[in-house]
């Protein structure tokens, strides 16, 4: 039957309901600040929102958004290719290109549309794509639509990438290589110096998704490639406005003038309405702020290190290095759900991640840190995890 394939998910939902826990699509009833809200009737610290710089609640961004709504209306009601390119959209494209020091940019309605749209369009039948095995779902969706040959290389493994480029022979120089800056689930950073070196040896085009690293890494916040000093090796940067910039939308920037022709070939750009003027306005203001206020990045990393060190000192299995994403990996699904529920009861909202969203068969309690978190809030999060240990819900082990 048509619906048979959904039965496993329906059973899982029933199990969650029976346990009175709703980790997926938990409703936020009120936002109190960038780091606090009322979720499912409970006041909680928001530690799973990707609001890395806390700009979703910045008064300057809110004001810009309000002014734009008053002046331009609530929506464009059309595609960028039809009536949906307002002056603000074009201005933001100029500003994001300038931010990256390149000449060409496309602004999309979501980050998903940006990566999916670019990956489905850049390569086509007869071309070959090499993508990191732990790539985001939007990248997998895009490459699947492309019609190109899709080859995975082991996650953040430049040697495996080199091996696969070598196997391609003459096709290697035209291959599209896809990687990310910070990987969203475990918070690890791609070895971009080594990946860039492989690309220099074999050729190809490098597409880098900086969704979780833009605003968080690099001297001026451009992301992981800037931090690694390899921006010249990146052909296309993609990213989102929904994390460090606190709004919604996505972008792709490039030094290649061909991006202007590519723009007209991307279904995810053409056949969807453009971002609301208010969203564009707050994004432009947030971009100005992250350029002018590098101290936000400093504070983000101070908080990231505080949370990472705190969880690690508890003996929890966190990743190898500190990152704005700090994930605790667990093997047992039921126990992980119990932990998520207990964290909520302790006043801390984190993300519960289950396979295949997690990069292995493990389950994750995924925390994302914000520059807007206070030290006291970070300590409350750490204390909540200590409570899980005290309750016997999680057993300390050696960190990875």
């Amino acid at each position: 039957m048509l619906f048979d394939k959904f039965q496993t998910m329906a059973d899982f939902q029933a199990e969650l309901a029976q346990r009175h826990v709703e980790p997926f699509g938990a409703v936020t009833e009120e936002i109190l600040s960038a780091t606090e809200g009322v979720v499912q009737g409970r006041k909680v610290i928001l530690a799973g929102t990707n609001n890395y710089l806390g700009l979703s609640y910045d008064p300057r961004c809110i004001k810009a958004s309000q002014d734009a709504a008053a002046r331009w209306g609530t929506g464009t009601t059309g595609s960028r290719l039809a009536n949906g390119s307002f002056a603000g959209h074009r201005a933001l494209e100029g500003e994001i290109a300038q931010f990256y020091g390149v000449d060409h940019a496309i602004v999309f309605s979501t980050g998903y549309a940006a990566t999916m749209g670019m990956c489905s369009t850049l390569a086509g039948p007869g071309d070959v794509i090499l993508l990191d095995a732990d790539s985001h779902a939007s990248i997998y969706a895009g490459v699947k639509l492309s019609g190109a040959d899709i080859i995975r290389f082991k996650h953040s493994d430049p040697e495996d990438l080199a091996k696969r480029l070598r196997r391609l022979g003459d096709r290697a120089s035209q291959a599209l290589i896809i990687a990310e800056g910070i990987y969203s689930m475990l918070g690890d950073v791609a070895p971009l110096q080594e990946i860039a070196a492989v690309k220099r040896e074999y050729g190809g085009y490098l597409f880098l998704d900086e969704a979780h690293s833009m605003g968080a890494l690099g001297e001026t916040g451009r992301g992981a490639a800037q931090a690694a000093g390899v921006e010249d090796d990146v052909d296309f940067f993609a990213g989102t406005f929904s994390k460090s910039l606190g709004a919604i939308g996505g972008f792709c920037v490039s030094r290649h003038p061909e991006l202007e022709a590519i723009r007209f070939c991307i279904s995810a750009y053409i056949f969807t309405a453009s971002s609301s003027p208010s969203v564009i306005a707050s994004t432009r203001e947030a971009l100005r702020i992250i350029t002018a206020e590098p101290q936000l990045r400093t504070q983000l990393w101070r908080n990231a290190n505080r949370l990472y060190d705190g969880l690690k000192s508890l003996g929890l299995p966190v990743g190898p290095t500190a990152s704005p994403v700090v994930a605790v990996e667990m093997e047992d699904r039921s126990r992980t759900i119990d932990c998520w529920k207990a964290l909520m009861e302790a006043g801390v909202y984190v993300n519960l991640v289950i396979p295949p969203a997690s990069p292995s068969t493990n389950f994750l309690l995924r925390n994302s840190v914000s520059a807007a978190h206070s030290s006291a809030q970070i300590d409350t999060i750490i204390a909540a995890y200590a409570g899980l240990i005290a309750a016997g819900l999680i057993t300390p082990s050696k960190a990875h």
């Binding site: 070959v128 699947k144 190109a148 040959d149 899709i150 080859i151 995975r152 696969r164 196997r167 391609l168 295949p356 068969t361």
Partner: protein, 80 residues
């Protein structure tokens, strides 16, 4: 060029450790439906084949691969 039967023989041997049901393998044995390989085990198995023949097997051909015979034919094509 190695012929089809040699590819089949290699796949039978390579699958030994994952053939937990001790099935008698043939070209019509389905990798997932019969042997019960998980998606992770399929990827590990594919990697074993790739390294042996020094090839890359594109993900986009996998939806057409159900049986050991399907896989042997695809690997033979890629290894020409």
């Amino acid at each position: 060029m190695t012929d089809y039967q040699e590819y089949l023989n290699f796949l039978y041997t390579a699958l030994e450790s994952q053939n937990k049901k001790q099935l008698v393998l043939s070209e019509n044995t389905a990798l997932v439906a019969d042997i019960g390989l998980s998606s992770l085990e399929v990827m590990e198995f594919i990697e074993k084949i790739e390294d042996h023949f020094d090839i890359s097997i594109p993900l986009n051909i996998l939806p057409d691969v159900n049986t050991i015979g399907d896989l042997a034919r695809k690997v033979r094509e890629l290894n020409l």
